[in-house]
Symmetry: C4
C-alpha cells in the first residue's frame, strides 16, 4: 500500500504521516479499503495495545462500551456478527454460515408467520384498532430483523472505522463515562419497557378475568383472546401458545430496542464531537500554529465521515423508530380520547403513552445532539483571534457551515431539535 511505502524509506515523519492519515481517512468509504486495511492495522494495533495497557479509561472506547450492549442484541437475535466481545474491531466479522445467523433466520420465520396471521386476520374482517396495532407490531418486528441483518453485514466496517477514528484521535482520550452512561441508559429504558410490557399483560388478563369465572382456564382464555389472530386459523395447543408468547415478547423488545439502539449510538458519536470541542476550547487560550488547526479540521472531518457512514448503516432503523413511535402515539391518543375505559385500562394507557413519549423525546434529543455538537465547533472558530485565522481555520469554518453532520431517517428527514416540534405540531 502506498501509504506504508511512503513511510518506510524517509526518516522525516511529519509529512508522510499526514499522508498516512489523510488518505485512508477518505478511502474508508471506498472499496479499496479492504485490501489495505490489514497492513495498516498492523501499524495501528501497536499503538492500540500500548494504550490498552496504558490507560484504564479505554473501557470507554466504542468497542468496549458497545460489546455487552451488542451481546444483549444478539441474545434477541439481532445483528449476528462474530467476535463481538473482542477488544479489537478487526475481529468483528460477519459470515452467513454461523449459529447466530441461523438464530436470526429462525426469528425472521417466526415474525413472518406472526405477520401473516395478523394480516390474514385483518383481511378476514376483524379490523379494529387493537388488530391494527398488532399488525404494526409484527411488521415492525420483521422489518427490524431485516434491518439488523443488513446492518450486521456493515457492522464490522463501522466498528473498524470507529476504532481507527478513536486511535487517530487518541490525544483527546475517550469520552468520559461513556461505558457507564450506556449501561444506565440501557437499564433504565429496558426496565421501563419491561414494566410497561407486564402492565400490558396484566391489563389484558384483568379484562379476561371479567369474562371467565373459573380460575383454571384463565391463562388459556388469555392466550385465546390475545393471540386470537393465530387460533382463529389453528387449533389451540400449549406449545403454540408459548411460541406466540415468545414471538410477542421479542417483537415488543425490538420496538423498545431500536429506540435504545439509536440513543446509544448517538450518545457515543456525539460524545466524540464533545471531546473534540472541549480540546479546542482548551487549546484556544493560546495562539495555535496552523498545523494544529489542520489536524483539528481533519479530525472533525473524520468524525463527519464516521457520522455519514453510521447514518448510511442505521438510517433505516431511525426511520423505523420514528415511524413506529408516531403511529403508536397517534393510536394511543385516539384510543384514549375516543372511548371512556375502566380504571385499569386508563392507568395502563397513561403509563404506556408516558413511556412512549419519554422514548420518542429521548431518541430525538440524543440523535439531534450529534448535529448540535457538530455545529457548536463553529462558535469556537468565530472567537479565534485574527492571528489564528488562517486558511485552515477558514476551510474548517466553511466545512462546518456547509456540511450537514446529522443522523437522518433514510435521508428523508434530518434528525434535529426542530423535528420534534414539527412532528408534534403535525399531530
Amino acid at each position: 500500500m502506498e501509504s506504508l511505502a511512503n513511510v518506510a524509506p524517509t526518516g522525516d515523519f511529519a509529512k508522510p504521516r499526514r499522508n498516512v492519515r489523510m488518505t485512508p481517512k477518505y478511502l474508508t468509504l471506498l472499496s479499496t479499503l479492504r485490501s489495505s486495511v490489514t497492513k495498516l492495522y498492523a501499524n495501528k494495533r501497536i499503538r492500540d495495545i500500548r494504550h490498552v495497557n496504558d490507560k484504564g479509561s479505554d473501557q470507554n472506547s466504542f468497542r468496549r462500551a458497545m460489546s455487552s450492549f451488542m451481546l444483549m442484541a444478539q441474545c434477541f437475535a439481532l445483528c449476528p456478527v462474530q467476535g463481538i466481545t473482542s477488544l479489537n474491531a478487526h475481529d468483528v466479522r460477519f459470515t452467513w454460515c454461523s449459529w447466530r445467523v441461523g438464530y436470526c433466520i429462525v426469528m425472521i420465520l417466526g415474525m413472518t408467520a406472526a405477520c401473516g396471521f395478523t394480516i390474514a386476520f385483518y383481511i378476514k374482517g376483524f379490523f379494529t384498532f387493537e388488530t391494527s396495532a398488532t399488525v404494526v407490531l409484527y411488521t415492525l418486528g420483521l422489518s427490524c430483523c431485516f434491518c439488523f441483518m443488513s446492518l450486521a453485514r456493515r457492522w464490522p466496517r463501522l466498528e473498524e472505522l470507529w476504532q481507527r477514528t478513536e486511535h487517530e484521535q487518541i490525544q483527546y482520550g475517550y469520552p468520559r463515562n461513556l461505558y457507564l452512561r450506556i449501561r444506565i441508559m440501557s437499564a433504565v429504558t429496558l426496565a421501563i419497557a419491561l414494566g410497561e410490557h407486564f402492565l400490558a399483560k396484566y391489563t389484558v388478563i384483568c379484562t379476561v378475568a371479567l369474562c371467565s369465572d373459573k380460575k383454571r382456564d384463565l391463562l388459556q382464555l388469555y392466550w385465546l383472546m390475545n393471540y386470537r389472530f393465530v387460533f382463529e386459523f389453528v387449533q389451540f395447543s400449549l406449545p403454540l401458545a408459548f411460541l406466540c408468547e415468545i414471538v410477542n415478547f421479542f417483537a415488543s423488545f425490538y420496538w423498545n430496542f431500536i429506540d435504545l439502539f439509536v440513543i446509544v449510538l448517538s450518545m457515543a458519536l456525539s460524545s466524540r464531537f464533545r471531546l473534540l470541542n472541549s480540546l479546542l476550547k482548551f487549546s484556544v487560550r493560546k495562539v495555535q500554529p496552523e498545523t494544529f488547526w489542520r489536524e483539528a479540521r481533519e479530525n472533525y472531518n473524520s468524525l463527519s465521515v464516521l457520522t455519514k457512514f453510521l447514518d448510511s448503516c442505521i438510517s433505516s432503523i431511525v426511520l423505523l423508530s420514528f415511524a413506529t413511535n408516531m403511529f403508536y402515539i397517534c393510536q394511543q391518543l385516539y384510543n384514549t380520547l375516543r372511548k371512556s375505559v375502566g380504571t385499569v385500562k386508563l392507568v395502563y394507557f397513561f403509563v404506556s403513552i408516558s413511556c412512549l413519549l419519554f422514548r420518542t423525546v429521548a431518541v430525538s434529543l440524543c440523535a439531534a445532539s450529534i448535529q448540535e455538537e457538530s455545529r457548536a465547533t463553529k462558535d469556537i472558530l468565530y472567537a479565534l483571534p485574527a492571528e489564528s485565522y488562517t486558511i485552515e481555520v477558514h476551510r474548517f469554518l466553511v466545512q462546518i457551515s456547509t456540511d450537514n453532520v446529522a443522523l437522518t431517517g433514510l435521508r428523508f428527514f434530518t434528525v434535529n431539535r426542530n423535528l420534534l416540534l414539527t412532528v408534534s405540531v403535525k399531530i
Copy 2:
C-alpha cells in the same frame, strides 16, 4: 488522455483551449450559440466519430440510450422531433412541417374533444368522483401533449448540449449500463401500467356484466357506460367507440409515461454526476495539480448548466407528474375509505394504489438522486489534504454549497428526498 494529447503539439495551446471550452459552455444558454455552433461542431464531431469507432461502451451515451425510448414516445404522438434514431445529436431537429407534428396535432384534437365532452358532462350535473377522475385524465392528456410539443422545440438543443457535455467529459466514459437500466425501467413500468389498465377495464366489465344479462350486448353496454360522457351527447356508433377507446388508451399511457420520462432523464443525469464523483474519488488518492481541480470544477459546472437547461425543459412535466399523482392518490384513498365495495373492485383499488405509490416514489427518488449525487461531491472536497486545497477547490466547494442542482416542479418546488415526506404528511 485526450486533453494531454491536445496540449502536446502546440506549446501555447493551454489557454486558448480553456477559452474554447469555457465560453461555449456558458453560452449554450444564450441565443448567440446558434451561429457559433456549426464551426464548433466540425471540431467536436471528429472526436465524436473517433470515439464512436473506438469504444463499444458508447451505447450508453445519452443519444443512443434514449433513441429507442424517444421512438416509443413518438409512437404515442409525443415529442415530434426528427432524426431521433441518428447517432449524432446534431441531426435531431424540430420542424413544424412534418408528419410527426401532424400526428401530434391529431392527438391534441382528440384529447381536446374528450376534455370538452367530460367538462360538458360534468357541468350537466353528473358530478361524481368517477367523472372527476375522468376530467383529470383527459386534462392531463391534453396538457401532456402541449408540454411535449413545447419540449420538442427545445429537445434538439438539449440533445446537443448533452452530447457536448459527454464529449467534453469523454475521459470519464459513459455511465455503465445506462442503456440497460433505461430498458428495464421502461419495461417494468409499462408492464405494470398495462396490467393495471387491463385490470381496470376488467373491473368495469365485471360491473357492467352485473347489469346486463345478454352476452352479446356486453361490449356495447361497457362502451355506453364507460364513455357515457360522449354518448350522452352523441348517438352511439362503433367507430366512435373505438376512437374513444384509443383516446382513453393514449391518455392512460401518457399518465404513466410522464412519470417514466422523468425517471429515465433523472437516471441519465444523475449517473453523469456519479461518474464525476467516482473519478474524483479515484483521483483523490494522490495529490492532484490545480489544473485537475479546475477541470473537475468546470465539468461539474457543465453538468450544473445541463441540469438547469434540462429543468427549464421538463419542469412543467415534473409539475404535471406530481400534481396528477397527488390527485389520484387522494382520490383513491378517499374512494377506498368511503364506501365498502365488492371484492373485484377492492382488489383493483389495492393494485391501482400500489402502482400509483410505486410510481410516485420512483419518480421522487430518481429525481431527488440528481440533487443527492450533485451534493455528494462536497464530501470528497472536505477530505482533500491541505496541499490540494487551492483556490480552485475552494471555488468548487463554494459552488456546490450555494448552487441548487436539482429538478424542480416549474420552479415552485425542488424535488428532493424531503419533498416525499412533506407531501405524504400533507395528505
Copy 3:
C-alpha cells in the same frame, strides 16, 4: 460634501469617482442624504439631461414609465405626492398642505364611515358571509389609504434612489418596453376588474329584480339591499346612495389596484436585474478586468439596496394584498362549495374566482421574479474562467449567495415561487 470636495481638486478621476459613487450609494438610506442631495444632483442632472436628449429609449425609465400610472393612482386618492409628471425625480415632493392630501383625507373619512357602518351592522347581529366580505372590503380600503399615505411620504426618496441607480447604470440602458408592459398590464388588469365589478353589480340587480315587481323602484331597492349596512342606521336619500356607490367603487378599485401596484413595481425592478444579467452574459465572452467585476458587483449592490428600500416602502402593501386575496379565495371557495346557487350567481362566482386566482398568481410570480432574477446572476459567476475569478468575483458570489434580495410581506414572509405552493397547500 466630501464626495464633491474630493472630485474637484484632483485631475485623475478614476479613484475619486469610486468614492463619489460608493459613498452616496450607501448613504442613501441614512438621514444625512437629504442635505447633500442637492449638490450631487446638480452634477447628475447634467448627465441626465444629456441622455434625455440622446436617446428616445428613456421613456422606459422608471420615472417616465410610472408617471401616468401614479397619476391614475392619484385620481383615486392614493399616493398624494406632487410633481408626479415631472421628468426629474427631484421634483417629486410630499407636503401635507396640498389639495391631493386633502382629497385623500376626504376618502379616508369616507372609508372610515363605511367601515364603521359595516362593523356596527356586523355587531347588530347580521353576521353572514356577505357582511364579512363587506367588512373586509372597507377595512382593506381604509388600510390601503393609510398605507399609500405612508408610502407617499417615502415615495420621493424612492424615486430619487431609483433614478440615481438608473443613471449610475446608464451603460445598461433602460429596460426594453417597460413603458409598454406597464401600460398593457394595467389595462388588462383594470379591464378585468371593471368587468368583474359590473358583473357583480348585475348579479345583485338580478337578485333584486326577483323581489321587486315595479321597474321604477329597482335602483332604490338595489341600493337599500346592497348598502343595507348604511340604511339600517340612516334614512335613505339619493345623495347618500351615490356616496355609498362611490366609496364602494373606490374600495373595489383599491382591492384590484394594490395587486396591480405590486405587479408593476416588481416588473420594473426585476427588469433592472435582467438588464444587469444580460450585460454580464454578454461581457463574459472575453476575460474582463477586475474593475469590470467590481463595477458589476457595485451595481448589483445598488439594486439590492434599491430592493430593500422598495421593500421597506411597500411591504405592508404586499402583506395587505396577499392577506386579502387569501381571504377572498377561501370565502369564495366556501360559498361555492356550500350552497347550490342560481345560474347567474354561479357564473359570477366562477368569473370572480378566476379573476382572483389570476391576480394572485400574477402578483406572486411577478414579485417572485425579483428573487429569481437576482439569483440568476450566480450562474454567470459559476461559469467564469479561472483567470477571471478574482477577489471581486468571489465577493460578488458571496453576496448573491448570502443576500436575500426579494420583496417581503412586512418581513413576515419572503415572496418567492415556493410561497405560492405553500399557500395553496394550506388552503
Copy 4:
C-alpha cells in the same frame, strides 16, 4: 477614544491588549473564567467607575436599566439573587441561604398545592374548559418559579458578561432611552394585565351575582365557585380563600411577566446590535483600517456570545411563554366560537383575546428583532468599497451569514418574524 488612550503610553501595548480582550471573551463560557475574573475586574472597574462618573447616560446600562425591573420580579418571588440594586454586576450573587430564596420556596409550595388541587379536581371528573385553563395556569406558575430559580443561579454570570461587553464597547455608548423604554413597556404591559385581571374577576362576580340573591354572601360564593377545586376537598375558611386569591394573583402575574421579561431582555439586547450598526454606518463613510474592522468583528462576536449565553439562560422561559400563549389563544377562540355567551362575558372575551394577541405579537416581534438587527450588519458590509474589503471584513461577513444569532425556544425553534406567520397558519 479610550482605546487610543490606552495604547498611547506604552508602545507595545497593542498586541497584549488584543489578547486580554480576546481570550476572556471566549472563556466567559468556560469554567476557568471564575478564577481569572477578579484580576480582570480590578482592571475593568477603574474604567467602569470613571465612566459612571463621566456620563449620565449610563443609566441606560443594562445593570441600571434592569435593576428596578428585577426588583419588581423579586417582589413576586422570582429570580432571587442578591445585590440586584448594586451598580456593579460583580455584586450580584446567588446563594441558597437567603430570605429571597426562602420567599421563592414558599411560593413554589403554594403553586404546587394549587397544581395538586386542580389536577385532583380534574381527575375527579370535573373536566371542563375552565378547569383545563386553571390547570394550565398553575402549571405555568409552578414551571415559571422553577425556571426563574434556575435562571437566578446563572443570572450573576449573565449580568457580569453583559456589563463586560458594555465596557468593552464603551465607545458605542449605551442604548438611548433604554431605561425609559423598559419602564414604559413594563408599565403598559402590566397595566393592561391588571385591567384584564380585574375584568376577569368582575365577569366571574357578575356570573355569581346571578345565582346569589343576598349581597352579603356574594364574596364567599365567588370564592366557593372560583376556587371550587380547593373547596371541593377542603372546608371553606376565609384565610384559605385569601391564600387562594394570592396564589391566583401571583400565577396571573407570572403569565404576564414571562412575556414582559422576554420583551425587556430582547429590547436590551437588540439595542446593543443597533448601536453597533449605527456606529458602523457612521464609520463607513471613510475608508477604515483593517484594525477597525477587526474590532467591529470582535464586538459583533461578543454580542453573539452574549446572545447565546442569554439564550441558554432564558430559552426555557421563551418556550414557556410561547406554549402558554398558544394554548390560551386556541382555548379562547374555541370558547368564543363554540357557545353564545352574555354581553359581559363577550366583552371580557374580546378584551382578553386582544390582550393575548397584543402580548404574543409583542413578544415575537421583540425577540425576532435580535435576529433582524444582527443580520442588518450584513448590508453595511456588502456596501463597503473594494479598498476596505480585507480578510477581516470577509471573516465578519462569513460569521454573520453562517451564525444564527437569535433567541430560541429551548432550541426547538428559532424566534424570527417568520415564526409568527407559521404559528398563526397552524392555528
